[in-house]
């Protein structure tokens, strides 16, 4: 056995300590440069007229809430505020919806890094149980992002029951995403960054997944499900999947979700209503609780998608607290009569 001399030992120890010190310094630097969410306007080459007037982001402040959403500007470009597509296979529903919104190129500039955030809550339900987003809806979005020129498309969620890898496989999402060339990412504990929520009324700070904040494009793909506290879990609530501490949000869930939505701004929300879960959400488990609607609802306005999908459950937008808070904070429009809705069939 080779002998480690005292000198060698000390040398190694000094090296190790040096590395640790450098690491510590870098760690200290990191806390100063806490990444902040960029407004949609900062995305390279984004053609959305809605954001053309937004000022360049400054690290010290977030865009004011009033600048966050302006669906009327989108409408002025000729696109509907919200698209509903019914009757058809999941991929056809998605393609029709995105086409009606102006095509994926409107959201995904060439070379952009894209994150698709489905709802993959547990590892023990296949997609038929409507606990997890339809795999073909997710897969088609990945495919279309690449067709629009995305440089990378990552798909991620943080399941609360079972491991992420198992959940990705069981839900069927991994297969469709990988077939489309996308990457399934198991979210890493170390990639959450402390994020201030200046516009937040209740939630002022939370740890958000770094990659989600840094991605050029965020596509939010929830599935319509019932939830005992939130009433329904749709687009706005789906973003809870990218924060570390979700349980503390339950104390004032509606406001906390709206607050979170001021810093995480998906470029596009596509609510999967191919199947919806009408009872025992969010994890389900009874096919009797599943209703097949063969519908997707898409918009750049996350408040609008959630408001519309509420009606598919026989509810009013205001029945969802977070929708009410979100509309009040200027995150989007919940009054369906004020939206230009394209109701199509695939």
């Amino acid at each position: 056995m080779p002998q480690l001399s005292r000198r060698d030992f000390l040398r190694l120890a000094a090296l190790g300590l040096g590395a640790a010190t450098i690491g510590g310094v870098l760690e200290a630097c990191k806390s100063v440069t806490t990444p902040l969410a960029r407004p949609t306007s900062s995305r390279p080459g984004t053609a959305a007229p809605a954001t053309a007037a937004a000022p360049p982001p400054t690290p010290a402040s977030l865009p004011p809430a009033t600048l966050i959403a302006s669906p009327t500007a989108a409408a002025s470009a000729g696109y509907p505020d919200l698209v509903v597509v019914r009757k058809g296979e999941p991929d056809a529903l998605v393609r029709r919806a995105i086409a009606a919104l102006g095509g994926m190129e409107r959201f995904v500039p060439s070379g952009a890094s894209v994150i698709v955030k489905p709802n993959v809550c547990v590892s023990y339900r296949t997609y038929e149980y409507a606990a997890t987003t339809n795999p073909w809806v997710v897969g088609t979005l990945v495919k279309m992002a690449f067709e629009a020129g995305a440089s990378s498309v990552k798909v991620m969620d943080y399941p609360y029951g079972g491991s992420a890898a198992d959940a990705y496989a069981t839900s069927g999402i991994a297969e469709q995403v990988q077939a489309a060339g996308g990457e399934m990412v198991v979210m890493s504990d170390r990639k959450y960054v402390s994020t201030q929520i200046p516009a937040g009324k209740w939630l002022k700070q939370t740890d958000v997944y770094d990659e989600v904040l840094k991605a050029d494009v965020l596509i939010n793909v929830p599935i319509g499900k019932v939830h005992s506290l939130a009433t329904l879990t749709l687009g706005m609530k789906n973003l809870m999947g990218v924060v570390r501490d979700r349980s503390s949000m339950h104390g004032n869930l509606g406001q906390a979700i709206a607050d979170l939505n001021t810093v995480i701004r998906p470029d596009l929300t596509v609510v999967d209503c191919v199947r919806i879960l009408t009872a025992h959400g969010p994890s389900g488990g009874n096919l009797d609780d599943v209703q097949k609607l063969d519908t997707v609802v898409a918009s750049t306005d996350i408040v609008a998608t959630d408001s519309f999908v509420a009606t598919l459950f026989g509810l009013k937008p205001d029945d969802l607290h977070y929708v009410g808070f979100g509309a009040a904070m200027g995150l989007g429009v919940s009054d369906l009569s004020k939206l230009k809705v394209a109701d199509l069939t695939a």
Binding site: V122, S123, G161, D166, S247, H250
Partner: protein, 513 residues
């Protein structure tokens, strides 16, 4: 002295292969790893575990025939298992603790007796349905230490290192790739914690440190498996012989790792102590040492346990087991002594105790770290048996791995559908600590988590008193006892700090009246 190619080199090669195989099967004992029947092969090769398990459970597992291979090996070559195959023995060989430059303190030869007495204790206790002392089996020691101490500690180091390196510009990507590509193959997906990880590590370190008193101290004096194989080796076919041409240089006695070569007896050795390491065969300058077939039984040694000592051991075993069974613990077990799925059902009396050999395969394979080796929770008798601690990890609704790896079916083999119906325990809400019940704070996390299709936790909308003098409308969780299976996901995720406000208790057993 330069080592010549030969026996010692071959033995070391075999040792390395066996250790790597053991470590490989250890790492692959996980969900999506190798099939359970393959990963528990080392445990089944261990004849002490197998025979004690068979005696205690009074049931023969077909996989137990593997132990015959080790018995046969021992009947032909003596304790070759110890010298050539045992992974713990190999690890002990790797740490030859040197003490200064002087002589080691003399260890009394009589200490060799301990391992034989342990064999008597273990086998007799097994006959009486107790396997507590199997926590001293070398394979269970190594496996448990790797599971509860070494791997989690390595995981900690890897995580810290990853945290550090990912701060270095440009290394973020590679670290991520390692995290996604390599980590899941070796380390737990989520950090897992084991109660008394430090204790298991200390025990192991102490065992290695005993090498300072004598090489392979554990194997010489204490190891019950070594003792068991040693007893068989007394009638083994091949025996170490020293021919008449021996020059009496004493080199073999000096080099023998078990110190069994006695210069006073013409350098003869005790087959029960010799691990067939072949060092003496290779090192003898006159090549006088051979292993030759012999049909006679080995002669007795002063340290062999006497009749009186064996009788004393038998009596002590019977007394100890009787005391275990009148101990308060046997009458009133901890309400939190939740066992892995099905083990309580299959052995309604003593649960995992009778057929559990303390091998720790279930602890290793549990993906969430829910299954923990008991130290005190299951009483002295239940040392090393598996307990499910939901605050540390939950029983994954999509997993039935523990029953698949258990070599004795102390945890029964359940299909996933059966496991999803298997009652492990029952959740109870502590309304004095529950956020909804006591703090008037909306929280439905337990209901949300419940994996059952119809949810065993229901919410009741109540108008309740609020501190400002008015009332507030809140959803109050209730557990539907008949539905709850006790998976513990609610307890694991309960946002209350410290002990959860919803806890899984041992289910009520049907008590015959």
């Amino acid at each position: 002295m330069p080592s010549r190619p030969g026996w010692v080199r071959s033995r070391k090669a075999v040792q390395a292969v066996a250790l790597i195989a053991f470590a490989g099967l250890f790492l692959l004992a996980r969900r999506d790893g190798l099939p359970g029947d393959l990963v528990n092969v080392p445990m089944r090769l261990d004849p002490l575990l197998t025979i004690a398990g068979t005696l205690a459970a009074r049931a023969f597992m077909i996989g137990s025939v593997l132990a015959l291979a080790t018995l046969l090996l021992t009947l032909v070559f003596g304790r070759a298992w110890c010298g050539w195959l045992c992974p713990l023995g190999t690890v002990l060989d790797m740490f030859p603790v040197k003490v200064g430059h002087g002589q080691r303190p003399a260890v009394p030869e009589g200490l060799r007796k301990v391992k034989y007495i342990l064999v008597v204790l273990i086998l007799f206790a097994a006959l009486l349905g107790n396997q507590t002392l199997l926590f001293l089996d070398p394979l269970t020691i190594l496996f448990r230490t790797l599971t509860a101490s070494v791997l989690p500690a390595l995981d900690q180091i890897a995580r810290s290192l990853g945290d550090l390196l990912s701060q270095v510009p440009g290394l973020d990507g590679p670290v991520s790739s390692v995290d996604t590509a390599i980590r899941p193959l070796i380390l737990p997906a989520e950090p897992v914690s084991y109660q008394d990880a430090l204790l298991f590590a200390s025990f192991f370190v102490a065992l290695v440190a005993l090498n300072a008193l004598a090489p392979r101290f554990w194997c010489r004096y204490l190891c019950p498996l070594g003792g068991f194989l040693g007893l068989i080796s007394r009638v083994a076919l091949f025996r170490r012989e020293v021919s008449a041409s021996c020059g009496g240089c004493g080199m073999c006695a000096e080099e023998c790792p078990t110190g069994t070569i006695d210069p006073a007896r013409n350098y003869a050795s005790d087959p029960a102590e010799c691990t067939v390491c072949m060092t003496c065969v290779q090192e003898c300058p006159l090549a006088t040492v051979t292993f030759t077939p012999s049909l006679s039984a080995a002669e007795g040694r002063p340290y062999d346990p006497g009749r009186r000592q064996v009788l004393l051991a038998l009596g002590a075993t019977a007394a100890a087991i009787a005391l275990f069974r009148v101990d308060l613990f046997a009458k009133r077990q901890s309400p939190f002594l939740v066992r892995p799925p099905g083990s309580r059902e299959s052995n309604p009396d003593a649960v995992a105790l009778t057929s559990c050999t303390r091998c720790g395969e279930c602890v290793r394979v549990c993906p969430t770290g829910a299954i923990q080796p008991a130290v005190v929770q299951a009483g002295l008798e239940g040392l090393g048996t598996p307990v499910l601690v939901p605050r540390l990890g939950y029983c994954d609704y999509a997993c039935n791995s523990c029953g698949q790896v258990c070599p004795t079916q102390a945890i029964p083999l359940l299909s996933l559908a059966d496991k999803q119906r298997q009652v492990i325990g029952k959740a109870y809400i502590d309304q004095n600590r529950c956020l909804a019940w006591s703090d008037h704070t909306p929280c439905i996390v337990c209901e949300e988590m419940c994996p059952l299709p119809d949810k065993a936790i229901k919410l009741e909308l109540q108008e309740v008193w609020s501190p400002d003098g008015g009332t507030v409308s809140l959803q109050m969780p209730h557990v539907v006892r008949d539905m709850c299976i006790g998976c513990g996901l609610c307890e694991y995720r309960c946002p209350v700090s410290g002990d959860a406000a919803i806890r899984v208790y041992v289910p009520q057993l049907a008590v015959p009246i």
